[in-house]
């Protein structure tokens, strides 16, 4: 169990990347969504033991992350895939994973070998395992990244934007890999790709300007958008404060999928909300409440 209570993180200059965030994360896949600058990466780094919170508490399987001991202890249970994954260009995949396994405390050479072989098979890199990492494509590098995150049988896996830049097949493969890894573990997945969340997460949280504005199952977020999603076929872009989620050029005109409080456009048909619609609606409400609060 991971608990976060009134967590705040301020950087130099008073920038509050996290502001009084409170969450409880159980086992399984947990999604973390939010716009750029919402605090997702900061939260992930705190949970990964890289950053110390300014105030509040974060607890990972009983280890208090506000103490150095707690952070070190939680790192022993952690698999981490950062957003900007750097790899040593002159090492090959086996060597890189071997090195990472040593850093994670897998001291037995045979245990390391066995884990690495297994993981390379899972991420389908066995054939290219002896090539230097600098020759790998972006997707292959990401697979090395997830493999190193799975080393040492971690209880908590944190992945930050793991599928960015991957083709659809790679993304699906990744999702499946993470879903398999989440059995008996906690996997926190931070992503902009809502589809990844909808296909694999049983719980999610949305951040906005450092605050948690939603925590619950994806289904509830979808339901919150019911009655606020329409499809409109028109020659011009619908207005009236509606947000256009998608645009499709058809023979009879342009079909817009819109989200908003209400829709008075002629011919508007209510749509079945998706998780993406739910996210858009949530963010729209948040901005509106900030605007009305400021006014």
């Amino acid at each position: 169990m991971i608990t976060i209570e009134h967590l705040t993180k301020r950087y130099r200059g008073g920038v509050a990347a996290l502001d009084d965030a409170t969450l409880t994360i159980g086992s399984g896949m947990f999604g973390l969504v939010g716009p750029n600058g919402a605090g997702k990466t900061t939260l992930m780094r705190i949970l990964a033991g890289l950053l110390r919170p300014t105030s509040g508490r974060a607890n990972v399987f009983g280890h208090d992350l506000s103490t150095w001991r707690g952070r070190q202890a939680s790192k022993a249970l952690l698999g981490y895939l950062p957003q900007d994954l750097g790899l040593y260009p002159n090492l090959n995949a086996i060597e890189f994973l071997d090195y990472m396994a040593i850093l994670k405390g897998v001291t037995s050479a045979s245990a390391r070998r066995s884990q690495i072989d297994d993981l390379l098979q899972q991420v389908r890199l066995t054939d290219v395992a002896r090539r230097p990492l600098r020759t790998y494509s972006g997707g292959m590098k990401r697979r090395v990244g997830i493999a190193q995150a799975l080393l040492g049988q971690p209880r908590l896996i944190i992945v930050d934007e793991p599928t960015a830049g991957l083709d659809p097949e790679e993304r699906i493969r990744f999702r499946n890999l993470l879903a398999d890894a989440s059995i008996g573990r906690t996997v926190i997945l931070s992503t902009h790709i809502i589809e990844d969340i909808s296909q694999s997460c049983n719980d999610l949280a949305a951040l906005y300007r450092g605050r948690v504005i939603y925590h619950g199952p994806p289904g509830a977020l979808i339901e919150a958008a019911r009655g606020h999603v329409w499809t409109v076929t028109a020659d011009t872009r619908p207005d009236d404060g509606l947000l256009v989620v998608s645009t499709l050029q058809l023979a009879r005109g342009t079909q817009y999928r819109v989200v908003g409080e209400s829709c008075t456009s002629p011919g508007a048909e209510p749509g079945e909300p998706s998780l993406e619609d739910g996210y858009i609606w949530l963010m729209a409400q948040q901005r509106e409440s900030l605007r009305s609060g400021a006014a």
Binding site: L50, L51, Y80, P82, E95, G105
Partner: protein, 232 residues
């Protein structure tokens, strides 16, 4: 977690730079038998300082976040790169010492005391500057300029400010003796103080770097002083 991986430490620490030291020492010994007697002292501090500067600069480290997120304490990263570097350059220095001592000019212990403390001091300096500035380039530059400048001018500086002897990286027993007369002290004591100070400076620089590694925020450059800021 105390798993030290010397194998990867060697791979990631540019071990072939020790060959460059060896070649430079050999060339100096061939080109000038007089200067060659102090070849390890003239080459190793510079070579080791530059090498140390290239060992670990947070801004240039590809997998920095992964290294810091690992349960192994981060100072092991430094040690597993520093130890092979010291061993290799040390081997070069000892070999050169043995060659020079074999010619019967100077006892080997004296030769080692001549180059080792200054080499360690510049190693510490290179390591520390690269860590604090997060850039290997600036550290290499400072080590090069400082060593070059001191090689040519520190004796003149000592004449004007004798008490600076304690930081003189290339102090010789002869100069220490002359200074001793000027300062009214035993030259051997001055020399010993100088050598000891250099070693202590090296240890202090290493300690500062190791201690600095505990602050992941700074190491990652997320709360960086303007001079440590990343390029992006």
């Amino acid at each position: 977690m105390t798993a030290l991986s010397l194998r990867y430490g060697v791979r990631l620490s540019l071990p072939w730079l020790a060959v460059v030291s060896a070649v430079a020492i050999a060339l100096l010994m061939i080109a000038s038998p007089d200067a060659g007697m102090r070849a390890p002292t003239l080459v190793l501090p510079l070579a080791m300082g530059v090498h140390a500067a290239l060992l670990f600069a947070p801004g240039d480290e590809p997998s920095l976040e992964l290294l810091l997120a690992a349960p192994r304490l981060p100072y092991w990263i430094l040690l597993e790169r520093l130890l092979p570097m010291l061993a290799l350059h040390g081997a070069v220095g000892l070999a050169a010492t043995a060659l020079i001592a074999a010619k019967g000019y100077v006892p080997p212990a004296e030769l080692i005391i001549d180059w080792l403390p200054s080499a360690l001091a510049l190693t510490g300096l290179g390591l520390l500057i690269a860590f604090v500035t997060r850039r290997a380039g600036l550290s290499v530059l400072v080590v090069l300029l400082l060593t070059g400048g001191l090689l040519f001018s520190v004796d003149s500086l000592i004449l004007r400010f004798p008490h600076v002897f304690i930081l003189h990286p290339f102090l010789t027993p002869g100069l220490a003796y002359a200074l001793g007369i000027r300062l009214g002290m035993d030259g051997d004591v001055l020399y010993a103080l100088n050598r000891l100070t250099l070693v202590l400076l090296a240890l202090a620089a290493l300690a500062r770097t190791v201690f600095g590694l505990r602050d992941a925020l700074r190491v990652l450059g997320l709360d960086a002083h303007p001079f440590q800021r990343e390029d992006t």
